[in-house]
């Protein structure tokens, strides 16, 4: 029953992807025609419009799709790991941890270790920061009978505060150039990625999706409880380690590329669970597509509603996501808290 709905949702999203992408390519400070967009997609740049589309809007569109898919699939995995539909990487401190890692790297890598700050180094630091945060919150919120929401959110607040303080501390010591680089991410920004970075993101997204899909049935079993999953033959410790690693890597690279974009990882899996059910075999791929679509939509809005300037996309997703989260909390409070 769910399988059919899942397929239909998947196809619908794939179909939606095309017009939405074309729309995103066409609108902006300089609106362009669809034929220009199609020409630019083929790699041609005969006029200014096509040049704008090919070199500015298309890279941005691709990054939005990749980051959105990554955030939503990491959110889904995170909720599976915590066995809780409210666990979102940005709420439980993983994003803050990743951002801390990135800030520390920018400010101190050159000063202390005397090594040039490359993008790869920032991404690795973000990954380490994210992994540390998720591990810490997970250990804190794990009780005898599963994870407690209250503990998870509180631990998330504490870890976010600590990571935020360390980030601020490193900003205090940064020079103007570093400060600019740091503040770019913290608001979330999808412009200005290199094709190398996008390929890296694409590869990591592929790895994350394949590994999650392969372990989908085990993730389902984990939702029953850790010991239940173990009695069903699942190597629970291995699975948890894998999920923490994947989420930290995915979030680390997303944060390094685009900064903190919150709530995609919460809102999308939730909507998808309503549509296709909680079975990870169908949920993960649908969430990935949904996240790609939603972030593309949010970014397109962010750069067009206050023309000629643009809003940071993180502001827009938080603006959409936070009320959604409040409604969820209100509806669920008897059941899960």
């Amino acid at each position: 029953m769910h399988r059919e709905t899942a397929k239909r949702t998947l196809y619908l999203q794939l179909i939606l992807l095309l017009p939405l992408s074309l729309l995103a390519l066409c609108i902006g400070t300089e609106p362009s025609s669809i034929s220009d967009a199609l020409q630019a997609l083929l790699g041609k740049a005969n006029n200014t419009e096509q040049l704008i589309i090919r070199d500015i809007r298309l890279p941005r569109l691709l990054l939005a799709l990749l980051v959105g898919a990554m955030l939503a699939s990491c959110g889904t995995a995170c909720q599976g790991l915590f066995r809780n539909p409210l666990a979102d990487p940005s709420l439980i401190g993983v994003s803050a941890g990743a951002s801390m890692g990135a800030s520390l790297c920018i400010v101190f890598a050159a000063a202390v270790f005397d090594i040039p700050v490359s993008f790869l180094l920032i991404a690795i630091s973000a990954f380490l920061g994210g992994a540390l945060a998720s591990f810490l919150v997970y250990r804190l919120s794990l009780g005898d009978y599963g994870t407690s929401v209250a503990m998870m959110l509180l631990a998330g607040i504490a870890v976010s505060a600590l990571a935020g303080a360390i980030s601020s501390f490193s900003e205090f010591y940064s020079d103007n150039e570093q400060l600019r680089r740091i503040s770019i991410w913290q608001m979330g920004n999808l412009s200005g990625s290199s094709s190398m970075q996008r390929w890296g993101m694409f590869a990591l997204l592929g790895i994350v999706l394949v590994l999650l899909q392969v372990n989908a049935k085990k993730l389902n079993a984990l939702l029953l409880g850790e010991s239940e999953a173990r009695h069903l033959g699942v190597n629970v410790d291995g699975l948890k380690l894998l999920v923490v690693f994947l989420v930290a890597a995915g979030l680390g690279l997303s944060v390094a590329l685009a900064g903190i974009i919150s709530f995609i990882g919460l809102v999308v899996p939730h909507i998808m669970r309503l549509l296709v059910g909680p079975d990870h075999r169908f949920l993960i791929i649908n969430s990935a597509l949904g996240g790609a679509l939603l972030l593309l939509l949010a970014d397109t809005l962010a750069r067009t509603i206050v023309l000629p300037t643009e809003l940071p996309v993180g502001v827009l997703t938080a603006l959409l996501g936070a009320p959604f989260f409040l409604v969820l909390l209100r509806n669920k409070r008897q059941k899960i808290l």
């Binding site: 010991s227 009695h231 190597n235 079975d279």
Partner: protein, 273 residues
């Protein structure tokens, strides 16, 4: 206990379900919750663990299922040390229902039950059939499409029981099975309690050992082949219902005066306050 079974069968002894605890002790956060417990059980036996709150019933069950590692002593399942068994191998013969089954995600009942078939590669047609029978056995087939999180406590418990019994479903070659249930009747009404205990009885006949933790002494006396009475981490008594459930023993362990009489229709003790 099952000597007749062993003698009459041509199968080697190893093929029979058999488990053993050898002087098992368990220390949890500084307290010795299990003290030198030894017992064994064989195919066809329905063993019920009873005892006051905090006597170590759940801890014993968790140690027997390999979830907790004993501080001293060894648990053998099927003549092998339990932690030497591969996880996947163990899951094919041992199914466990723990006391706190929490599921916060909106799976349907049939999806929950199907998870019980995860350790097996028996094909979806066979699995569907097993799940259908397991759901029928626990009277949850009628609400198989409903969402687990929206069910009452008793309905959830029946769904979890169906999942566990679908996991421990007898194979065509009667491989040994072990089913451990921790207070499986805590939310069930009378008729479903009977249904549960009769399903356990029936399952024990297909080369299975069942160990249940129960609080209801009368239920234990009516259905158990053997009762283990735990008191403060020690195994106080191990025997048939008439041997364990005596007035003096129960009064002493539960620290309350009880009366034990003969059940009006069955040859087993009935316990009254």
């Amino acid at each position: 206990m099952n000597s007749s079974l062993h003698e009459s069968s041509e199968m080697p002894l190893k093929q029979f379900a058999c488990l053993e605890a050898q002087s098992v002790s368990l220390i949890r956060s500084g307290n010795e919750v299990l003290k030198d417990i030894s017992f064994s059980a064989c195919a066809g036996e329905l063993v019920v663990i009873i005892g006051p709150n905090g006597a170590g019933k759940s801890s014993l069950l968790k140690t027997m299922s390999g979830e907790l590692k004993p501080s001293k002593g060894v648990v053998y399942i099927h003549e092998q040390e339990i932690d030497q068994l591969e996880l996947s191998q163990r899951a094919q013969s041992l199914a466990v229902l723990s006391q706190h089954a929490s599921l916060n995600f909106p799976f349907s009942v049939s999806e929950v039950v199907e998870m019980g078939r995860m350790p097996f590669a028996t094909g979806s047609t066979y699995d569907q059939d097993v799940c259908y029978k397991a759901m029928k056995a626990f009277d949850c087939y009628d609400y198989r499409d409903r969402i687990y999180t929206q069910l009452s406590g008793g309905e959830q418990q029946r769904a979890q029981l169906a999942r566990v019994f679908a996991q421990a479903w007898p194979t065509s070659n009667y491989l040994p099975l072990y089913v451990f249930l921790d207070e499986p009747n805590s939310s069930l009404d009378l008729s479903h309690q009977k249904m549960l205990l009769e399903a356990c009885r029936q399952r024990s006949e297909s080369n299975a050992v069942l160990i249940l933790v129960l609080h209801d002494l009368n239920l234990a006396c009516q259905y158990a082949d053997r009762i283990l009475l735990l008191d403060n981490g020690r195994l106080r008594a191990n025997g048939k219902p008439w041997e364990v459930c005596t007035e003096s023993m129960l009064s002493e362990v539960y620290k309350v005066d009880v009366n034990v009489v003969q059940h009006p229709k069955k040859d087993c003790p009935a316990v009254y306050l």
